[in-house]
């Protein structure tokens, strides 16, 4: 914001963050205000930079897998899936059907966990204190399944290149079914708390509108794009890991405002439950690990694989020079791209809505700064 130094007497520059609790981490937003009105918003990122891509270039393919969990730590399973699929494409192997189905179950569970954390914190930002407790309560069930399956709750490292390391535990299917049975009424409960609530509607409706053209121009993906009315979901558009076998809907919104994005995510949680149920019902038996060499040396070449992470399109681009380490590794994080639309969404709105807009974008700073 180069012009920020030449202020009118009524204009004010306000620094929001990096320690502001509503920026969901260490995001700093420089706001240019005219009274209550936002004239512009500039994001300063990088406070959480750890050089994950560079670390990837200095680790072998298997060794880098745990690090990707630490980018979007709220949806670590999705990160692992994207990375494993990208390396599998380089190696030209495919995970066996059972591994693919288990991957789908865990990824969808993670989508629910991620959306729950989003819902809780988003509501908390706006001033609804109650939902966060309920959301975290249900999230715990999903994390318990992860813990029982792979031994960790947050940074799971659940998948390995070529398939899975761990066979499912006894009672995995029952746990997943019980989770779905328990969870669907709970989504209705959240909706009872929020959807009709007048304060919630007043704070969200017509706030931070991002229409479909803007979404495309900024490259915004995920629920934000779908709330604008585009039926675009990579699980349907380019199915991976056997998503073509499952029957589910892509919820879309109409106005592209914050309220629509809320509704889209709520419906996505229900659809995720539907996918989990189907995947558990027809969980194939068989091996869980494909034929991958112990020392991975993918042929010279490059691969890009993108998946539908809870926050949008998560892509991994890997260049191999034939050695055991990637020559170049690049991540396309959904949060980073979605955040670029913040200025457009805030401009002309009120300063109080900035918090709502940051919340609705569902960003994770670990992924933005990498």
């Amino acid at each position: 914001m180069a012009d920020a130094t030449f202020l009118d007497s009524t204009e004010l520059v306000l620094n929001m963050g990096p320690q502001h609790p509503s920026t969901h981490g260490v995001l700093r937003v420089i706001l240019k205000l005219d009274g209550e009105k936002v004239l512009g918003a500039d994001c300063v990122i990088g406070y959480l930079h750890r050089g994950v891509e560079k670390i990837g270039e200095n680790r072998t393919y298997q060794m880098f897998a745990p690090y990707v969990d630490r980018m979007d730590y709220v949806a670590s399973v999705s990160n692992g899936l994207g990375y494993c699929l990208a390396v599998e494409k380089l190696l030209n192997v495919e995970a066996p059907p059972r591994a693919q189905a288990v991957r789908v179950i865990l990824t969808e569970l993670n989508r629910i966990a991620s959306h729950l954390l989003w819902l809780g914190t988003h509501a908390l930002d706006i001033g609804a204190m109650t939902p966060v407790f309920y959301c975290l309560r249900e999230r715990e069930y999903a994390l318990n399944i992860f813990e029982k399956y792979c031994g960790a709750r947050l940074t799971t490292h659940a998948f390995r290149i070529g398939g899975l390391q761990y066979e499912t535990y006894d009672g995995f299917e029952e746990d997943c079914r019980a989770f779905c049975d328990m969870f669907l009424p709970r989504v209705d409960e959240y909706e009872e708390l929020l959807t009709g609530n007048r304060i919630w509607i007043d704070r969200l409706r017509n706030v931070g509108i991002l229409n479909i053209e803007d979404c495309k121009a900024f490259g915004v993906t995920g629920p934000v794009l779908r709330a604008a009315g585009a039926k675009w979901d990579l699980r349907k558009a380019q199915p991976y890991s056997g998503y073509e076998q499952y029957d589910f809907e892509i919820p879309i919104g109409e106005n592209g405002d914050t309220y629509d994005r809320y509704l889209v995510r709520m419906e996505e949680m229900r659809q995720a439950c539907r996918i989990i149920r189907q995947a558990v019902d027809k969980l194939p038996s068989g091996p869980i690990m494909g034929k991958v060499p112990k020392v991975m040396k993918p042929p010279v070449g490059e691969a890009y694989v993108s998946i539908e992470a809870p926050k949008g399109e998560l892509g991994y681009f890997i260049v191999s020079d034939g050695s055991t380490q990637p020559y170049r590794l690049r991540v396309r994080p959904p949060s980073f791209v979605n955040l670029q639309a913040l200025d457009r969404m805030c401009r002309g709105g009120l300063v109080a809505d900035v918090v709502a807009i940051i919340g609705t974008l569902d960003i994770v700073l670990g992924e933005i700064d990498r």
């Binding site: 298997q62 060794m63 745990p66 690090y67 318990n144 029982k148 792979c150 940074t155 490292h157 409960e189």
Partner: protein
Amino acid sequence: MIKGMGKLLRSIFLVDLLQGMWVTFRTQHPKNIVTEQYPAERPKVAERYRGAPRLNINPENGETLCISCNLCALACPENLIVVTSERNEQTRRKELITFTYDTSRCMFCGLCEDACPVDALELTQDFELASYSREGAIWDRQMLEEGPRPTKYLA
């Protein structure tokens, strides 16, 4: 028209708010309380939990199971395991001398326990790894075999 009236009445009688309040009220019931009182109530972690490392010993003769193959150290992305061994001239076998494991840098990814060919190294269900000093986070062979020593409190 009727729909509009309904909406008006609903907003006059605060139906939306009362609905939400009722959800909150329902969770008051003691059987709906899920909070864990952590230090008093020990959580039961899963069997596969990846927590504190342990170097298994053979329960029969008390000898370590580790064959000093160094595979765990090679598998670790953080290079935090150091294994030293010596060849026993009589048996011609490698014998473990020291084994250090720096838990302060470990991310508990489990690659080392997957790499171990004899299941000597294992990540256990112990999840309380805090120590009073940085040195306390570096576990030596004795600590890995016997579990962490109890902390000495200052009188």
